[in-house]
């Protein structure tokens, strides 16, 4: 058994999970499970949203360690689910290290949904949230339009690895600006409902859920990091929409929007 290869595969799996938005304890558990199943004697893993540290002993009591920096989190719950399944099936199906490496690279190169579909579905999500918060049918179409533009901006900005605070700030600004513009053009009836529907796309649902779950599992460093991330996203949205509102109040005067 080649300990180095096993540890590399485990680290790769862990990195992928963390970058797809997995919880800390799940990442650690999966890496331990993979390594132990393939014959590493003992292993310790420490994962946070930005780094994975792994230290293991092979059968001759030699120490091996790897450190993997991870960057940013995207949403790909399917990848997490697949790697989780893979790690559980090693013992059940008696997979070898070659099988594991092949499977991991298959999951790694698996493409997410095409951008067009993501934009379309987030546009619809924004629209239906507007309806949910008792907007009119006119607001629905405005929110669909704004939602599509926001998602397009998010996708194109994240290609330049811009800090997420800025992305959310721009998203919030777009939502407020477009909603007020459409309201002035008499295309939507409640600009507030339209904005709320659109900013639901930016709300840090995954970060909050993961922060809570990390807290329960006692991964305090990760939970604090993720809470701060969620708070900053929320502040970004508020600052973005707030800036536009402030400017509009100045331009149009008072509250007669």
């Amino acid at each position: 058994m080649d300990t180095n290869r096993v540890l590399n595969a485990a680290t790769k799996a862990g990195k992928m999970m963390l970058e797809s938005g997995g919880e800390t304890y799940r990442v650690e558990e999966t890496m331990v499970r993979i390594s132990l199943a393939l014959g590493v004697k003992s292993i310790d893993v420490y994962a946070t949203p930005t780094v994975i540290i792994l230290s293991a002993k092979d059968e001759h009591n030699n120490n091996h360690s790897t450190l993997q920096r991870t960057y940013g989190a995207t949403f790909n719950l399917d990848k997490i689910s697949k790697i989780n399944d893979l790690s559980r099936s090693i013992e059940r199906k008696h997979l070898t290290i070659d099988d594991l490496e092949r499977e991991i690279s298959v999951i790694e190169h698996q493409k997410g949904y095409p951008d067009v579909l993501t934009i379309l579905s987030s546009a619809l999500a924004a629209g239906f949230f507007t309806l949910l918060f008792s907007g009119s049918i006119k607001d629905f179409f405005c929110a669909v339009f704004i939602g599509a533009i926001i998602k397009y901006t998010i996708i194109s900005l994240s290609k330049f690895s811009v800090y997420s605070f800025f992305i959310n700030l721009v998203g919030g600004m777009e939502a407020a600006l477009l909603a007020i513009l459409l309201y002035k053009l008499n295309l939507c009836t409640h600009y507030d409902k339209t904005i709320i529907g659109a900013i639901m796309l930016l709300v840090p649902g995954l970060a909050i859920t993961n922060a809570i779950r990390d807290t329960i599992n006692g991964d305090l460093v990760s939970s604090v990091t993720r809470t701060v991330e969620a708070v900053f996203i929320a502040i970004g949205i508020a600052v973005g929409t707030g800036m536009v509102f402030k400017i509009c109040f100045r331009l149009f005067g008072g509250m007669n929007l």
């Binding site: 719950l77 309806l131 809570i212």
Partner: protein
Amino acid sequence: MILATLYSFLASLGFAIVFNIRGKNILIASIGGSFSWFIYLLMQNLHNSNTVSLFVAAFLVSIYSEVMARLFKSPVTTYTICGIIPLVPGNGMYYTMYYTISGNINKSTLTGLQTLTDAGAIAIAIVMVSSLSKLLFLKKKKVM
């Protein structure tokens, strides 16, 4: 109310695709979203406060997610996130910001506190359910 449930189903469906959930999990996750909103509306119709309604809805949808995760062998988050998304107090966040900008400090503090309480209620509901399910799961393991 049925219409609202349909809306929340479709909204969660959109989110399920954004989060890259695949196959039959999309459907299960979106049903979770509409389920949580249905419970929320039901609780509000029974004259409960907003926070209590959110708590009960989040509690039940977390149970739903835990059960589905065990049944279909997927991570719990797959279902929890889409179930919780309609309950997230985006409404409160927006109005807090709005009142702050328009200089109405009284109202902004009020809505800000309410938003925090709502978010806290959802968080505590998730915490309770996953701690309870962990207890049950451990018990099962020891017995077997």
